[in-house]
């Protein structure tokens, strides 16, 4: 986006070398533009300085990031307690400055990514997750009360001493950006991952998975519940299909068939957490730090469009038609005798709507009628069509 008056490219991710040189030339001959540019740069600098003044020391941020990444599992209770105190002390800053909260969440994801990468390359026995009896206890370093929270007289500690990590015998599937991968789990469930995404679970416990990114789950029915854990929520089912999308802004769960239960994750408010039950067609969203999972209304966009698929599981034909009409901007009439039918199937969104409807018709024992060049399709029962 180029400002029409100043020609300062405000909204590019980065200026090219040519753009920089062009701007420099223009500034040399345009004092008004120079003044505006300097003030804009100064404003950005001031905003940064204001936030920087609120930031805890970097090592403290890392300590909390490790805690929130679940990488302190084997640490001494006293260490975990000290970091939780630190976490509590930072809370007011995170509330007042959402950008600090976002920064910490990004750092948490970084720590998790490093841990996962390490486990890919280093044998579990050499991953440093268990301390030998000879190792010295963790060091707790008393520091001055941090300026960013005068009330927080917490015990701080060296981040280098904190990496007593979770058990590494986990399975992990990582899918790069722009690609998809289907994962077959040992219990018969399948997961479609849309990159960038990571799915992990402990060996032998494939009905309890963790997800970062986006995944669509077709869960094999069993008595043992299947749960998907993200940074913000735990989604529990017994046998159903649903999509989970998680990012910096929270976790969104959309149900295609069956029923799921979504419970926020918020260790600081465990007693206040409210579980939400979702049925087919419903979506809920859990914001970071939230204690509930409110249902959200459809906004016209298919909340599962990121799968690259149309996914129908015992879906009423009216809903099937509605989804296809919205995606392809066509009219689809379903004969009355077919409206009680349901459809189970998966279609690529790249397919032509006519091709999809031919398959749908075949599955229903129906016929597809079209009306000349008009984007109108009609599904009728075979006997109706012949009649």
């Amino acid at each position: 986006m180029m400002d029409p008056t100043t020609h300062i490219s405000l909204c590019e991710e980065a200026l090219s070398d040519n753009a920089r040189e062009a701007l420099r030339q223009r500034l040399a001959h345009d004092p008004v533009l120079l003044e505006q540019t300097r003030l804009w740069a100064a404003l950005c600098e001031r905003a940064f300085r204001d936030v920087e003044a609120q930031l805890p020391p970097r090592e403290d941020l890392f300590s909390v990031a490790l805690l929130e990444a679940g990488l302190l599992g084997d640490a001494d209770v006293s260490v975990q307690s000290a970091v939780r105190d630190l976490q509590d002390a930072i809370k007011p800053v995170r509330r007042e400055y959402p950008s600090v909260d976002a920064l910490l969440r990004r750092m948490t994801a970084d720590a998790r990514a490093f841990q996962d990468t390490w486990l890919e390359h280093v044998p579990a026995s050499n991953s440093g997750h268990a301390r030998s009896p000879k190792q010295a206890p963790l060091r707790l370093l008393a520091r001055p009360v941090p300026m960013w929270s005068a009330a927080a007289a917490v015990t701080l500690l060296a981040v280098a001493a904190l990496f007593l990590l979770r058990a590494p015998d986990s399975m992990r599937i990582s899918v790069p950006d722009g690609t998809t991968q289907t994962v077959d789990l040992a219990d018969g469930s399948t997961v479609l991952l849309a990159g960038p995404a990571e799915l992990s679970w402990q060996d032998g416990a494939s009905r309890h998975v963790s997800l970062e990114g986006r995944g669509f789950f077709d869960v094999a029915p069993q008595e043992d519940p299947f749960d998907v854990t993200t940074d913000h929520a735990v989604t529990t089912v017994t046998g159903t299909s649903f999509g989970v999308e998680t990012g910096l802004s929270g976790t969104q769960v959309t149900v295609v068939s069956g029923r799921v239960h979504v419970r926020p994750r918020n260790s600081g408010a465990a007693s206040a957490l409210v579980e939400t039950t979702l049925d087919a067609g419903q979506t809920a969203r859990v914001a970071p730090g939230a204690v509930n999972a409110p249902r959200i209304a459809a906004t016209g966009l298919d909340p599962l469009a990121w799968t690259g698929l149309f996914i129908f599981r015992d879906t009423p034909m009216d809903s099937v038609a509605q989804a296809l009409e919205g995606a392809f901007n066509v009219d689809i009439d379903i004969h009355e005798s077919l409206r009680q039918e349901t459809l189970t199937g998966t279609f690529d969104r790249d397919q032509e709507v006519g091709d999809i409807l031919v398959i749908v018709a075949a599955a229903l024992g129906a016929e597809l009628e079209t009306h000349g060049d008009e984007p109108v399709y009609r599904l009728v029962r075979r006997e109706t069509a012949r009649g």
């Binding site: 986006m1 400002d3 008056t5 100043t6 300062i8 405000l10 909204c11 980065a14 920089r20 420099r24 500034l27 040399a28 345009d30 008004v32 003044e35 505006q36 540019t37 300097r38 003030l39 804009w40 740069a41 100064a42 404003l43 950005c44 600098e45 001031r46 905003a47 940064f48 936030v51 890392f62 959402p98 950008s99 976002a102 920064l103 750092m107 970084d110 720590a111 990514a113 490093f114 990468t117 390490w118 890919e120 390359h121 280093v122 044998p123 991953s127 440093g128 301390r131 030998s132 010295a136 981040v159 280098a160 001493a161 904190l162 990496f163 990590l165 950006d177 910096l248 802004s249 929270g250």
Partner: protein, 180 residues
């Protein structure tokens, strides 16, 4: 790759071969980590190199040889945070452009300070949050995700903030504008 305590101890004691073995073992881990976090970009090479230099320079200070992972992770995450803060920020982007004209930050003249104070006050909380996130190295798409909005809406907020700022520059600039 295995990093035995004996190997790490040798590196800590200054054995060049042991240091080399550790750095070679860490290289693919660092590369995998940075690629995972920022994609296949030329910056990955620099980040890997800088992180390994950090390890190389400070491995003698490693307190416990069993904690090489902690040591390496800390170096990599610090390097990544520095990278985030440098990328995309108007500070970085405009710094070298404004260098010949006295730098990015306005001189401490009283008039400039008043302009800047007024400009800061004119920002909506949302615009300020966006600018803060931008300065902390978040992409527009990441900011949109964070505030549950669209990338276009985020960019529009930035543009509006800039337009407000231009409106605050006062009569002097207006006159200058007309004169030029």
């Amino acid at each position: 790759m295995e990093f035995s305590n004996a190997l790490v101890q040798q590196a800590k004691d200054g054995d060049p071969a042991a240091v080399d073995t550790i750095l070679r073992g860490l290289e693919p881990i660092m590369r995998g980590f940075f690629t995972r976090r920022i994609g296949h970009r030329t910056e990955v090479d620099d980040l890997v190199q800088n992180s390994l230099i950090r390890v190389h320079r400070s491995i003698a200070d490693l307190q416990e040889v069993s904690r090489l992972k902690a040591f390496a992770m800390k170096g990599a995450l610090y390097e990544l945070q520095d990278f985030y803060r440098g990328r995309y920020s108007a500070r970085e982007m405009l710094h070298d452009i404004l260098e010949p004209f006295g730098g990015a930050v306005a001189p401490e003249r009283s008039g400039d300070r008043i302009d800047l104070d007024r400009a800061m006050e004119s920002l909506t909380p949302l615009a300020r949050r966006i600018i803060e996130l931008r300065q902390l190295g978040f992409k527009y798409t990441e900011i949109a995700d964070d505030i549950q909005s669209s990338e276009a809406a985020v960019k529009m907020q930035v543009k509006r903030a800039f337009e407000k700022l231009r409106g605050l520059l006062g009569a002097l600039v207006l006159l200058l504008s007309q004169a030029w």
